[in-house]
Symmetry: C2
Subunit: 368 residues, 2 copies
Amino acid sequence: MTADADRRARALLTRVAEPGDRHVAALVRELGSEAAVDALRDPSSRRADTYAARLAAADPDADLARATAVGGRLLVPGDLEWPSQLDDLGERAPWALWVRGAADLRMACLRSVAVVGARAATHYGEHVASVLGSDLGAAGWTVVSGGAYGIDAHAHGGALAVGGMTVGVLACGVDVAYPPRHDALFARIAADGLLVSEVPPGAAPHRGRFLVRNRLIAALTRGTVVVEAALRSGSLSTAREAESLRRIVMGVPGPVTSAMSAGVHRELRHGSAQLVESCADVLELVGGIGTDLAPEVRAPDGPRDQLDLLARRVLDAVPARRPATVDSVARTAGVAPAEAHAALGLLEIEGLVESGAAGWRLRRATSP
Amino acid sequence: MTADADRRARALLTRVAEPGDRHVAALVRELGSEAAVDALRDPSSRRADTYAARLAAADPDADLARATAVGGRLLVPGDLEWPSQLDDLGERAPWALWVRGAADLRMACLRSVAVVGARAATHYGEHVASVLGSDLGAAGWTVVSGGAYGIDAHAHGGALAVGGMTVGVLACGVDVAYPPRHDALFARIAADGLLVSEVPPGAAPHRGRFLVRNRLIAALTRGTVVVEAALRSGSLSTAREAESLRRIVMGVPGPVTSAMSAGVHRELRHGSAQLVESCADVLELVGGIGTDLAPEVRAPDGPRDQLDLLARRVLDAVPARRPATVDSVARTAGVAPAEAHAALGLLEIEGLVESGAAGWRLRRATSP
């Protein structure tokens, strides 16, 4: 099959199946995109009814043209611009991403942090999100968020205000302004940053799409900062995703008298998030491993040589055979558990270590 | 020597030596209070000059009478009212305590929490301290603090407002109103609670006395809550003392934009304090072991039988030989590290476990 055929097939699948559709994801993994489409088209297939209507209406060429018309494109695995860290999602990885904006998504996300939080944020939360966004932007880090009202909007806005890079991961098409009052914000992000979505141009958002979208925000970034969240805030689902992907989960404390900080405080109390007050705190946690995710790491002398001191100490503390817990690795390396946790997550992305139920150990290939 | 003679000698020592004077403390331990006084009086002794002037002016009977006149008394080790948890201070334990108020100090401190913080507190901090004080008081817990402006005053006031018990540990005499504007507060504490001090009636506070005073606040209580503290706040020294005494250290988060929360956030970030939002959070941490510090524990059937379920689980998880870390004990017991830490501290006070550089293990005598 040709690359174009693969891209057309994947474009069609974003129109036919909901993001995260495990049946379609499995078909694509097992048969490839084109055969997967054929399988869905097969009237004798058990699930034919599920997709028939959408298959009849789907027009991938029109969708691709529609994307091009707004400065967009479709990214598929194998593209140089495809963010390899999405592989961490395994079976839940997207089969394609619609992207709008001039920047390179992979490059933009190499050093990125998700800043998320409540829509009904307080002035305090919006202030913190805005300052965090601009400080991260000024420090050369990309601010990834969901383009929602409140915390998301102020995080994006803070980055844009200082000419920083920001990525809006949407639950609707990259040409759709949802929420409507954010049309100007999305236009600025499309102009100076990137808009990303799993659903095709023109697609409307709905509840389910916001939730599956959150896994992308978590997977694209090195860590997620929750600025404000009520006890049942959806932004906590992004924190959950980040945790399960072994990204660094951070939370900004606030007044204990504020319901909008209650969800964050619970995460901090249970140790599922680390307390951060500022951009400096965030970078101390996510910036531990110098250029680990940057292309140079793929240089011939091997990733290990590219690691900074902290990463090497942690790597040297990971046993080759019996798996060790983060705490014991931290003890052996003589670093804080938080640092060890951060380093291990990134060392795993580098393929230097692997983790299982019992803990962490060196990847065979890279054992000394 | 008679009990009276011992009390007179210790009263004199509170006038002659500064609280925490290690030389005097050692003399009292080695020779007893009366011989210690004789040793200080010995003109040939190396340090005679240090104490000569104060010895000449000291009049313990006058001090004792002065205390009695304001409803006060002098407590010495061996008194039923003497708080046994002060033994945890070892060589730094006070040799006597001046107390003012009708309540029994030992009983008052059996279930007590220290609530401390910045003098220059914000309205937010004062509100939180006041609510925490009244909620603890209403729950039957004693609020211990230092009687200072800001957080201390609001913690005392909250407890008094609901008829709860509160103990003010002062760096000046129990009949001295310092700070001056707190004369009314101190009168209310003396009437409904207790004022405690290591220095005799009429003694003025000075910088050094505030710092040594903090070790008493930490030692008398099961845990210390820091409500607000700037990065260099003196209230953090109370947290340090509580930590070194294996009491539970807690911190109330606040806006990251507030300098008065920066000190607390640093403690929380470094894991030297646990995040609490409310009285319920505090009691979850310090209330773990039902009546462990209460007299019943000294009942014939032995302390182990008095422990609640959590304490027993933790106790059963402590190895007899090789010491184990709090984390591994927590894992074995299947409880949160915070709970294990709290239980271990109290189990140690009960003489059931002991700790060393390598961790925790059962006390020989009580090994199964």
